[in-house]
Amino acid sequence: MATEAMSVEKTQARLMIALLLAPAVVWLALLLVLPHVELAILSLRVRVAPRVYEPSLAQFATFFGEPLYWHTFVRTAVMSIVSTAITLLVAFPMAWTIAKIARGRMQSALLVLCLIPFWVSETVRALGWMILLRESGVLPGVLMALGITDMPVEMLYHDATILVGLVYTSMLFMVVPLVSALESLDDALIEAAYDLGGNGWSILRQIIIPHAAPGIVSGCIVVFMLTLGNYLTPTLLGGKSSQWFTEQIYTQFITRFNWEQGAAFGFLLLGLSTAIVWVGLKLSGQKFGEVMRKS
């Protein structure tokens, strides 16, 4: 009797878990797995005649054969890494201030300040930068009025502009995991290190960074992926010279209507981000599961 009741209970529990997981499973299957299977099939075929396709690696061969494509590919990767590094450097002191220096209401106020830019859409934020930086915009005007430049300077469409926009867009995603990583650091550890003869730099290197490593890595992964896959900010702030790989994908799908090529590019980008994240984890000695759990 008892075992029967228990087995009924177990079945119920299992059903409950299945029901709770259902939305996530449907979400993943419909929006992630299915499209990727379709894209994988697309990327591995070539059109030989109208409505006639053959399995082939031609799409990937095009990528390696055409320097523009893989130049853009490498450039996107390098720019994303640089942008992630800058974001980390800028966000770290901010996170330190929020986690260790600010107290009470100040602490939450500072976090809200980091969040406020996200109340408007990315498009509006990028347009804001354009208003500030374009040749007839605010900043060139100020520089001219101050006599620093003789004529308005075009500040848009440089690599630096793209980086500024990207760092600005991803700041929050770096600050939040860093704050939670730094908050869990016991102040006594810093005092103990200081007491034993450590100085600011050695404490940062030997105590703070090792402690915050999971937070740093998880922030970097999120920011890197967001940056690599960003379309709007590089396009708006970099214009024609942005050469972002997502633009190539967009062009293939929308302008050229070459879905096969676009799908192949999509997979290449996925491979690239996976590879770089993997290398990053190896270099920092962190484990993906642990990093994601701690952030």
Binding site: A188, A192, L196, G197, N199
Partner: protein, 381 residues
């Protein structure tokens, strides 16, 4: 304040000269002067909020005094940063570096001083042997037991051969058994190394067991500095009498003064005698303290009158059995005052029952009394 342990600077490792620290209007540490002899185990004992942590942090250099100066090894520490002081600290929760191995923890300070790697290895090995953790270099911190962590924390500080080792209630987080054990171990370590230890705690038993000298701190001031025996047997202030060890406190007015021997009568009319600590005049409001082990119980009142001590009657209210520390709570019959008396180890009162009428008394020479500063205008009672 009573005399400091030693006053000549040659043999003092720590000296405080009029040190004060205020937080707004609140004086955490108020004009404190004391010195600690080289190689001694000095404890600062006080309830939480008495300013002992602030004092310790000022010695370590994490806070600076508003007034006064702290001398370590005879040198003024004004403007000397914590990482430049010849002082190391064992933190309350030890603050071992979880990202480093045991060996790296112990070697951290040496590495920061730029000692060569081979030398660090040798000295870390030696130090771990001295704290009975030989070969533990490669262990992770979370692999250690509470007592082992304690030893690593001490080794990490002592390997730097500081003039002074500060300990901020490091035994607080341990369970009772281990704490008893670590008390003895800490005392032995201190004796073996000969380093001056300054230990802060709110646990009087820790302070009494380990220290050569104890300062009882209250509201930013030292109430009394002395050996554990002095604090226990000759408390100089009512606070010390009440804080160090268990004590029965009786309030009343002095009715007769014969040199140091005071007779006092409590509000309820209980008359008792005690030895005055400090000046007491007839009519002063006084507080008398009788230790539970000073008082005795008996089934015959005659036991006390034979020795010339007063006998009191009381009813057993509860029996507090705690092995060797067993005691009985009595209620005195005329005043209804509660009285705690230690039970003798002879087993003589094993049949004592709650509600039983017994007699009790104590040697007046072993009871102390203090004037509380409130002088009577009328001679009552």
């Amino acid at each position: 304040m009573t005399q400091a342990p030693h006053t000549d600077t040659a043999a003092t490792d720590l000296q405080a000269l009029g040190v004060s620290k205020h937080y707004g209007a609140f004086a955490a540490v108020a004009d404190l002067s004391f010195s600690v002899a080289r190689g001694s185990f000095f404890s600062i004992l006080g309830p939480s909020g008495c300013g002992k942590t602030t004092l310790l942090r000022m010695i370590a250099g994490f806070q600076s005094p508003d007034h006064g100066d702290i001398l370590i090894g005879g040198k003024s520490m004004q403007g000397v940063l914590p990482n430049k002081r010849p002082v190391n600290m064992v933190f309350q929760h030890l603050a071992l570096f979880p990202m480093m191995s045991v060996g790296e923890n112990v070697g951290y300070g040496l590495a920061r001083r730029g000692v060569a790697a081979s030398e660090i290895k040798r000295r870390v090995g030696e130090m771990l042997e001295r704290v009975s953790l030989p070969g533990a270099q490669a262990k992770r911190i979370d692999q250690l037991s509470g007592g082992q962590k304690q030893r690593v924390a001490i080794a990490r500080s002592l390997v730097l051969e500081p003039t002074l080792l500060l300990l901020d209630e490091p035994l607080g987080a341990l369970d009772l058994k281990l704490r008893q054990h670590m008390k003895i171990e800490l005392k032995q370590l201190q004796a073996a190394f000969g380093t001056t230890f300054v230990y802060i705690t709110h646990d009087q038993s820790e302070a009494l067991v380990m220290s050569d000298h104890v300062a009882v701190m209250h509201q930013g001031k030292f109430e009394q500095v002395g050996t554990p025996q002095q604090l226990y047997y000759q408390p100089q202030t009512p606070f010390v009498a009440g804080f160090v060890g268990a004590n029965n406190c009786l309030q009343g007015r002095a009715t007769a003064v014969d040199h140091k021997n005071i007779t006092l009568v409590t509000q309820g009319g209980m008359e008792l005698r005690a030895v005055a600590m400090g000046p007491v005049r007839v009519g002063d409001a006084v507080e008398a303290f009788v230790r539970p082990e000073v008082a005795r119980i008996s089934r015959q009142a005659q036991t006390f009158s034979d020795q010339g001590h007063s006998a009191y009657g009381g009813k057993v209210e509860s029996i507090l059995f705690d092995g060797a520390n067993s005691a009985v709570l009595l209620r005195e019959e005329t005043t209804q005052l509660e009285f705690r008396i230690a039970l003798p180890q002879t087993g003589q009162f094993h049949d004592l029952a709650v509600g039983e009428q017994v007699h009790f008394g104590f040697d007046p020479q072993r009871a102390v009394c203090f004037a509380t500063g409130d002088r009577a205008t009328t001679h009552g009672h």
